[in-house]
């Protein structure tokens, strides 16, 4: 099938899914982390109807890279929002949960990378120097937690309170760690040694690109109030950053994330307007990316490396089971009865799929498929385990208010839209 037609078919399917999930009377019908889009993709892919194949990802490259760049940009704007900064730095200076998210991500990275390295060694299918690189990438992909899951429990069960906020911050911290961590990691060559100078340069490229263009566009948006021009400036600068980062061999998602962070900071009117402008475009982009991710993953292509995905996901779950109760306990001010709360953090969420898609799009073949497969496996496992665990945890600390679910909008500062 013509790749453009195929892509549009996937977009239409994702839009219908989005409509069912968020629209009208069926609001909240969708799965907690948005994994129904992944499942739809899997149904369309090589293991389902066979409409899409992993090789089609090659044709979708420009669109997918632009989309993951956009999503990383939105994550950046979210993190930069004053409510989060104030929460972390002023109101709750003694409990910096975003920092805990970073630490959790780092621990997860170490565990997953080590487990993957050992499994790859046992399988003997990847050269020794590449094992740490693959392990590191898998570790970063799985470093974050599902932001959407927290949004879901807020929307559907009216969750609010210290623990809910803390979990949201943990998710953001982990996502930030993963997105920034990709900067040096993409410099590592699977085929051989890479000089530290090159790693440093490649790591700095997206930060400099995203930072400088973010600052410039911030200044431009202050003066430019027209909608069409604002969109053109935002999209143009983002695609420019994404395209240049890709061309220079640097991390696409890091550049976009940094630009979003710079642009989203503060409470100035033009920043608030920009947030309102881009808000409706989040789910419109995320769901198609999830559908494409599900549709282009090919377990057969990954071959025996599937074992690595299983081990990586298991290692991540183990780390979260150990650390989760500590984080929730700190937020709730008690530790008793929360030993299962680590399960609430098991879902790796959208950042994992974004990073995996960015990597798999540029690294076609077994390793790219392994990374994509791992992110999807983790997301689906999280979908099964995490929602009930999260509900139970929040119920234990008295933060669930089901009676508020229909009237209370999600407290996430980004203004969400159904369109």
């Amino acid at each position: 099938m013509n790749p453009v037609w195929l892509l549009l078919t996937l977009l239409v399917i994702a839009a219908i899914g989005n409509r069912i999930k968020r629209g009208g009377r069926l609001r909240g019908f969708g799965l907690p982390s948005g994994s129904e889009s992944l499942l739809v993709g899997l149904m369309l892919g090589p293991h389902g109807l066979g409409l899409v194949h992993s090789s089609d990802l090659q044709s979708f490259r420009p669109v997918v890279l632009s989309a993951v760049g956009w999503l990383a940009f939105i994550v950046g704007t979210r993190l930069a929002q004053p409510s989060y900064l104030q929460y972390e730095l002023k109101k709750k200076a003694s409990s910096p949960f975003a920092l805990f998210g970073v630490l959790l991500g780092a621990l997860s990275l170490v565990a997953v990378a080590t487990a993957s390295y050992l499994t790859l060694g046992a399988l003997g299918q990847v050269a020794q120097q590449a094992r740490w690189v693959v392990g590191g990438i898998l570790g970063l992909v799985l470093a974050g937690c599902a932001q959407q899951l927290v949004d879901w429990v807020r929307q559907r069960y009216g969750a609010s309170g210290t623990v809910t906020d803390a979990l949201q911050s943990v998710a953001l911290g982990g996502g930030t760690f993963a997105l920034l961590g990709m900067a040096p990691l993409v410099a590592l060559d699977l085929g051989g040694a890479t000089s530290p100078r090159r790693i440093l340069i490649v790591a700095l490229v997206p930060i400099v690109l995203g930072g400088s263009f973010g600052l410039i566009v911030r200044g431009l948006l202050r003066a430019e109030a027209r909608i069409a021009e604002s969109w053109a400036l935002l999209l143009g600068s983002l695609l420019f950053i994404v395209g240049l980062a890709q061309r220079l061999g640097a991390s696409v998602v890091t550049g976009a994330f940094v630009a979003g962070w710079i642009l989203g900071r503060g409470r100035a009117p033009h920043v608030r307007e920009m947030r309102a402008m881009i808000a409706p475009a989040e789910s419109s982009v995320l769901l198609p990316v999830l559908v494409i991710a599900g549709a282009t993953v090919d377990v057969d292509l990954a071959g025996r490396l599937v074992a690595v995905a299983v081990v990586a996901v298991a290692a991540r779950v183990a780390v979260h089971l150990l650390c989760g109760p500590l984080i929730v306990g700190l937020a709730a001010g008690k530790l008793g009865g929360l030993y299962k709360s680590g399960l609430a953090l098991v879902s790796s969420g959208e950042v994992a799929v974004i990073i995996a898609m960015a990597y798999a799009t540029l690294h076609t073949g077994r390793i790219g498929q392994l990374v994509l497969l791992t992110s999807i496996a983790s997301a689906l496992l999280g979908e099964v385990i995490a929602p009930s665990a999260l509900k139970r945890t929040l119920a234990n600390v008295g933060e669930l208010r089901p009676d508020l679910r229909s009237s209370q909008p999600p407290p996430a500062p980004l203004i969400r839209s159904n369109s």
Binding site: V4, R61, A225, W231, S237, L239, G243, R247, L248
Partner: protein
């Protein structure tokens, strides 16, 4: 359409925009020279980013000079194109073809959405006289100029006088074509409303059909003079009639479907426009129908048969703003500057002849149709632009007459380059002078109010 509230940036912000543009062009130039990309697909990301970003900044910088945005987009495209920075090489530009398809469908839809049957009925006499005078006089003048300048055109030296006359006729028809895309882009940017805007839209859209019909007829007639052994055949005319009739029927069907979708409360306009732009264009191309005409008819059908067309119009208007930047940027990158440099003398001569013939033809037509003073004074201004339609006609020549088609096409490209740059400027000046442009456009702050 949204309530207009925002004014263009002024003063010190322009300096900031100038700096931003210089940084962007410098980074793009460095990337193109020092880090060439082997993948045209991936290069397309940087190219679109550059066109959107630099195009918007350049348009803002040219606003104090009252130049239309699309002139800036074209200039930015020229700078990024193969002739200057080579950020977008030929393969990358080919990769961006789907965006051009999307743009053409949006242009035609937007044009159709502005056409009301009641107004068209009242304008029949005006459209008839303007089309008749313009097609006849411009064709004769441009064709005559071609015959006079033929000694300076190497590819005509081996041709007999009859063959030269045949090529001159083709040249004349090409000269009488206008640019729906440039017209729509200027109207979209300025939000112009009024007598001149309405007249221009009606004429340019109808002239598109007239030129396509005339060109098909002329090609059938001159074929025996340019290709040995070929004969005059009515089959081409039949095929053209089939194409026109089919395009109109499919356009009506598409329009009715869109009207039904709107009636059922359909949203997701962006996705709808993407599907229309890519899928419907491909389908129309597969059945060899004219997508521009089909979308134009679809838009007009929605406008006249749907009570819910306002939201759809608004969406097309908003989406087209961003798409136009890329479309005209790509058009600018396609312009062959070295070729224009080679044949600039001939190109300027053709430009002047066509310009004078258009002014004269429009004046005569306006007198015959008893147009209002504003039309009599300014109706020539929108008729200078040429762009995609003209280039499409030129591409047809390459296929039809391989011996001379390529040379003729190069000449068309060189002439179009001048018309494409100067035409929109003249149109914008006319809209400004007739006070049909709006200085205020939809603002971001409206979004906050909507959400609140």
């Amino acid at each position: 359409m949204s309530v207009p509230t925002a004014t263009p940036p002024r003063g010190s912000s322009l300096a900031w925009q100038g700096v931003a543009l210089i940084v962007c062009v410098a980074v793009a130039g460095t990337a193109a020279q020092r880090f060439p990309s082997s993948s045209s697909q991936l290069n397309a990301i940087v190219a679109v980013g550059y066109l959107l970003y630099a195009g918007t900044l350049a348009a803002n910088l040219l606003e104090p000079l009252r130049l239309p945005h699309l002139t800036a987009y074209i200039l930015v495209g020229i700078v990024g194109g193969p002739s200057v920075l080579n950020l977008m090489d030929g393969r990358t530009l080919d990769t961006l073809t789907p965006i051009s398809s999307l743009a053409i469908s949006l242009i035609a839809l937007a044009g159709g959405l502005e056409l009301e049957f009641n107004e068209l009925r009242r304008a029949v006499a005006s459209l008839w006289w303007t089309n008749f005078c313009n097609t006849l006089l411009v064709t004769l003048a441009a064709g005559g100029a071609f015959l006079v300048l033929a000694p300076y055109l190497p590819f005509t030296r081996g041709l007999s006088l009859t063959a030269r006359g045949a090529v001159a006729l083709i040249w004349g028809i090409i000269a009488s074509s206008r640019s729906p895309s440039a017209t729509l882009a200027v109207l979209s940017q300025t939000g112009a409303r009024g007598t001149l805007s309405r007249w221009t839209l009606q004429f340019v859209m109808s002239s598109d059909i007239v030129v396509v019909v005339c060109m098909t007829f002329v090609l059938a007639v001159v074929r025996p003079f340019l290709i040995e052994g070929s004969e005059f055949s009515l089959a081409r005319l039949t095929a053209m009639a089939h194409e026109l009739f089919g395009s109109i029927c499919l356009g009506v069907a598409l329009g009715l479907m869109l009207a039904a979708y709107l009636r059922l409360g359909g949203k997701q306009f962006l996705l709808l426009l993407l599907v229309l732009g890519f899928v419907a264009t491909d389908l129309l191309s597969y059945v060899q129908f004219d997508s521009l005409l089909a979308f134009l008819v679809a838009g007009a059908t929605v406008r006249n048969f749907s009570r819910d067309s306002a939201a759809f119009r608004d969406s097309v208007f908003k989406t087209s703003g961003v798409v136009f930047v890329v479309f005209f940027g790509v058009a600018g990158a396609h312009l062959d500057l070295p070729l224009l440099h080679k044949v600039w003398g001939v190109a300027i001569s053709f430009f002047i002849v066509r310009f004078l013939a258009s002014v004269l033809a429009t004046r005569i037509a306006n007198q015959l149709a008893k147009e209002p003073p504003v039309i009599k004074r300014w109706a020539w201004a929108p008729l200078v632009s040429q762009a995609g339609l003209t280039l499409a006609l030129a591409a047809t020549l390459t296929r039809e007459f391989p011996a001379i088609g390529e040379s003729l096409r190069s000449l068309v490209i060189a002439t179009v380059a001048m018309n494409e740059i100067i035409g929109p400027i003249l149109f914008k000046i006319a809209l400004d002078r007739t006070r049909e442009t709006r200085q205020k456009m939809p603002s971001r702050s409206d979004l906050l109010e909507t959400v609140a």
